[in-house]
């Protein structure tokens, strides 16, 4: 048994989601190899070689893979898949784009966003927007699988010493080109990757008051999120929204401030390891999912919290 993990990277560094994919791959049993497909991506390949549990890193370093266009990378992965039982990647936007093409080229199904590995061929995955969890069994000899990163612990980023091997084959389908990218720049960690998230809701009253979260976020190296109510009220932009229709997060610590706890918000954060709720309404539903609830006026509690940490 052997598994090829398609790395999520930016040519320079390995994205944290890949570490969760490595853990899922390890649970499937056998050797775990990682493919880094990019251009001038040796730094990302070295990072992958250091991940605990990885025994080999394949590097396909070519201009055709620079922006990881699905049309090109899928041809490469489908070729390399001949030597593996499973092809696995974290369910990031890049892998969601590429892996179904791989599955179709191999004439197998893809199992999307697994939450657990029950056995070599059986997995759990959410359906109907997470309202139902299905246990599914694959009959394909070769399996293509994406992994919900928040459901698997990250493999250790250090401690491994995998061999790095170059892949010479170049696949350029010649049907798509990269034009440009606009990526939001912030000193804070990305919402879906942060280990601490502090979110504000309608209780923040206006956008200006979100600054009360800044100092705490700085001290905890936290990302700042918001409930849909806060976004709908125009306090903060849409890309800060945590919830069913926004970002799904599962940090070590989630602090909900002035958030009542509508189902649509809970769906986006209930897998967080520790949940703290600060709300002045002691009957707010958010307290039903919080590990630690503080019934208090956030305008008093936030400055106190900032001073105390």
């Amino acid at each position: 048994m052997s598994t090829l993990v398609l790395a999520e990277h930016d040519n320079v560094s390995l994205k944290a989601a890949t570490l969760s994919a490595v853990t899922a791959a390890s649970q499937m049993g056998g050797d775990v190899h990682v493919l880094v497909a990019g251009a001038n991506c040796s730094a990302a390949a070295e990072a992958a070689a250091a991940v605990a549990g990885v025994s080999k890193v394949l590097v396909a370093d070519n201009a055709a893979y620079e922006h990881q266009l699905a049309e090109n990378v899928s041809l490469l992965v489908a070729e390399l898949a001949a030597d593996y039982d499973n092809v696995v990647a974290a369910a990031t936007s890049a892998a969601k784009n590429t892996l179904p093409r791989v599955a179709a080229l191999l004439d197998v199904a893809q199992i999307s966003e697994i939450m657990s590995v029950e056995s070599a061929d059986t997995f759990k995955r959410p359906i109907y927007a997470g309202n139902v969890i299905a246990t599914v069994q694959s009959s394909d000899a070769k399996k293509v699988i994406t992994v919900r990163a928040t459901s698997f612990d990250a493999a250790a980023a250090e401690g491994g010493s995998a061999a790095i091997e170059s892949v010479v084959s170049v696949h350029d389908a010649g049907i798509s080109t990269f034009v440009g990218e606009e990526v939001a720049v912030s000193d804070r960690p990305e919402l879906t990757a942060a280990s601490v998230v502090i979110s504000g809701g309608r209780g923040m009253q206006n956008g200006e008051n979100f600054k009360l979260l800044d100092g705490i976020a700085d001290k905890l190296n936290a990302a700042i999120g918001a409930s849909r109510a806060a976004v709908d009220a125009g306090f903060v932009p849409n890309d800060m929204q945590v919830g069913q229709t926004g970002k799904i997060v599962a940090p070590e610590l989630y602090i909900a401030v002035g958030i009542s706890g509508a189902i649509q918000h809970l769906a986006g954060m209930k897998d967080s390891k520790v949940i703290v709720a600060i709300n002045k309404d002691e009957d707010a539903p958010i307290f039903q999912v919080a590990d630690y609830g503080l019934v208090a006026d956030l305008f008093n509690a936030l400055p106190e919290l900032e001073a105390a940490i």
Partner: protein
């Protein structure tokens, strides 16, 4: 330019679906069915391309049992010119849907195929990409903007942390994300007109596709519930708990 739009019949997005008590499947008795929201966005985009003079014909296609003709009629009422139902029984896997759509693509030779990015029942997010691989077409998935220019299309895509723009040779595939457009409502006169628009029915045999199954659903269950924790008296106690009990802050 001809545009093919794929349409799926799913449980209405307002319905909270539950697992049956015996865990055999989800309970879909007497639930309202509707066109998938991402497909409505796909139809809207195709119709706007026609209104802008870029597309000349919009063909809606659905893979499903006879009941999905209802959703095809909705697509026709929203502005599609004609419809094709590929008749299958029960649910079919994304790979099979992609193979059936490939057959339709070969018959119809569209320059652009627009699909929703992800169904709201199976949540697979696969069919468009699989169709791309099977037909060797380029794809612009999770699109928030589509601009056709001569023999290529420029697609702005929602990616983790921002937006990416790619240029694709036609024919190409686009899958829709939420911000692409706001679908219109069908007017009553258009609903009446839609009843007279052509709707053809094809079978898997007509398209030379064998229906296969690769994945078996063994059981379904509700997601784990989270238990409520404790209330703390003040900020000092909260910080103490986070440091010494949960150990999530230093």
């Amino acid at each position: 330019m001809k545009v093919l739009v794929a349409v799926k019949r799913v449980v209405d997005y307002n319905v909270k679906v539950r697992a049956k008590a015996d865990g055999s499947d989800v309970d879909l008795n007497n639930v309202k069915m509707a066109i998938k929201p991402f497909c409505e966005i796909a139809i809207e985009e195709a119709v706007r391309l026609k209104e802008a003079g870029v597309a000349t014909e919009v063909v809606a296609v659905s893979v499903g049992p006879k009941a999905c003709q209802e959703q095809l009629r909705t697509a026709l009422a929203l502005g599609a010119d004609r419809a094709i139902q590929v008749e299958v029984e029960g649910s079919v896997e994304p790979l099979v849907v992609a193979k059936l759509l490939k057959g339709v693509v070969e018959k119809e030779a569209p320059q652009l195929v627009i699909l929703g990015k992800q169904s709201i029942d199976g949540d697979n997010n696969q069919t468009g990409q699989m169709l791309g691989a099977l037909t060797n077409m380029a794809q612009g998935t999770f699109a928030s903007e589509v601009k056709v220019d001569g023999d290529s299309v420029s697609v702005t895509r929602e990616i983790d942390g921002g937006l990416q723009t790619v240029n694709l040779k036609l024919p190409a595939i686009v899958t829709t994300d939420l911000r692409l457009n706001e679908p219109r409502y069908a007017s009553l006169p258009n609903i009446m007109k839609a009843k007279k628009k052509p709707l053809d029915v094809l079978t898997a045999d007509d398209l030379g596709v064998t229906i296969s199954s690769h994945v078996t659903q063994l059981r379904v269950e509700p997601p784990a519930e989270r238990q409520a924790g404790i209330k703390v008296g003040d900020v000092a106690q909260l910080v103490d708990k986070l440091k010494n009990e949960a150990k999530v802050i230093a």
